[in-house]
Symmetry: C2
Subunit: 255 residues, 2 copies
């Protein structure tokens, strides 16, 4: 199942991104490099699996899946900039600014954000809803990042809910909306994804050996969020097995 969903996501991403030689070529190359290939594509998987759980088909949500991954990758490019985290490597390769220079990295990410909305707006069913959901999350992610890099004591729950979980929530809700899901299904999948996103962030902290809570507390929070996520799947009209296995895979992951 996951393999088939991954194929749908990669095909939608490839179709959405500019061709390598599309003018200006430097921009197209940087945008493609930023989105990369062979990643875990967790958010697109959440989106496509949510479409199924809402009673529709994964294909209905292909544009939304691509849109959410494109948006996610724009945020990474800006997070890596010298004036932010100043990271020179990501996924074992030079970061976009390290490879293309700072100006082109800022601009390529800006273009990716625009492309994310263009792609979401191409969804056949409920396109305006998909865009509204994506826009709210895109704003939320920035709020989380601003709070995260601010000096002084941070509100961990706020940072995690916005910086990480907002995109998971948007992925699930967009997928469900694009599949024609009921409002109840969209909301239930939003709750699932909020908890999944929090669990993902806690696991990330455990893997990195950092984070805003002590390790024992982080592990406890991760297990609880995963359980809460799975409990939200009760009563959905479609098959929830792909979402359940995603949640299980994220808990205790090694990379």
């Amino acid at each position: 199942m996951t393999e088939k969903l991954l194929e749908i996501a990669e095909a939608a991403l490839d179709a959405a991104l500019p061709k390598e030689d599309e003018r200006p070529a430097a921009l197209s190359a940087a945008m493609r490099y930023a989105v990369g290939s062979g990643g875990k594509r967790i958010r697109p998987l959440v989106c496509l699996a949510a479409a199924i759980a809402a009673g529709g088909k994964a294909e209905d949500a292909a544009c939304c899946a691509a849109a959410i991954e494109i948006l996610h990758n724009y945020t990474l490019v800006h997070d890596d900039l010298p004036s932010m985290d100043n990271d020179v490597e990501r996924r074992g390769k030079p970061t976009v600014w390290k490879k293309f220079g700072e100006a082109d990295a800022i601009l390529a990410a800006d273009a990716l954000q625009a492309l994310a909305f263009a792609t979401a707006a191409r969804t056949e069913r409920n396109a305006a809803d998909a865009v509204r959901i994506l826009a709210e999350a895109a704003f939320g992610v920035v709020k989380g990042q601003v709070e995260d890099i601010a000096a002084g004591k941070k509100d961990a729950r706020y940072v995690y809910a916005h910086k990480t979980a907002d995109l998971f929530v948007a992925a699930a809700k967009m997928g469900a909306a694009a599949a024609g899901g009921t409002r109840e299904s969209v909301d239930a999948l939003g709750r699932f994804a909020l908890n999944l996103g929090l669990a993902f962030q806690y696991e990330d902290d455990l893997l990195d050996g950092d984070g805003l809570y002590a390790p024992d507390e982080t592990a406890r929070l991760a297990a609880k969020a995963t359980a809460d996520a799975i409990a939200s799947l009760e009563g959905l009209p479609g098959d929830v097995s792909a979402l359940k296995s995603l949640a299980a895979r994220l808990l205790g992951r090694k990379t």
Copy 2:
């Protein structure tokens, strides 16, 4: 007429932007500072006047007018960054990065782009069309900027068409679409705005004493683009006087 349209635009902008104390306050303050107040608001005026020219009401396009101005201002914030134009002053005040720091400037502009799409998506009629038009222009603006800052000989027509005119085109088309205009009206207003945007850029070059053409040629191009713009207004169903006076005002402007 222009005064009334300006009021609609300012009210829509104020409603769309986060309140000063909305969390995180640093982000809200930077976003409001970036969009400023009392500007010429040319793109919102084009948008609202296009709604009238298409046979609808200016109020129909209020969200689109706010969206296009928010998007325009995000691009200015990124253009001013040290790694781009390295500008420390705009409209007689410190640029956003100079006042709030580079990281918060990048993020505030990112949030403005997201907010532009959220605002466009709130349009009552043809919201998905408005988002598609805005997304295309948002991508186009970046293409123009990448070409403009690239080393070597530039394609002036490409830079002007994308960096400047794309937002004028989007303003007019979004306004017409939000007012329920026919496809013919939307297209005619798009042609009007392409020429208006080019004229605006040529006038800008004359004012700044720079640009990609010689001054005589620039003046000739500005007059021709203005004439072409006005010719595109033939046969529209609504009142085109606001658009005509905008075009006349831009030609030979002093600031």
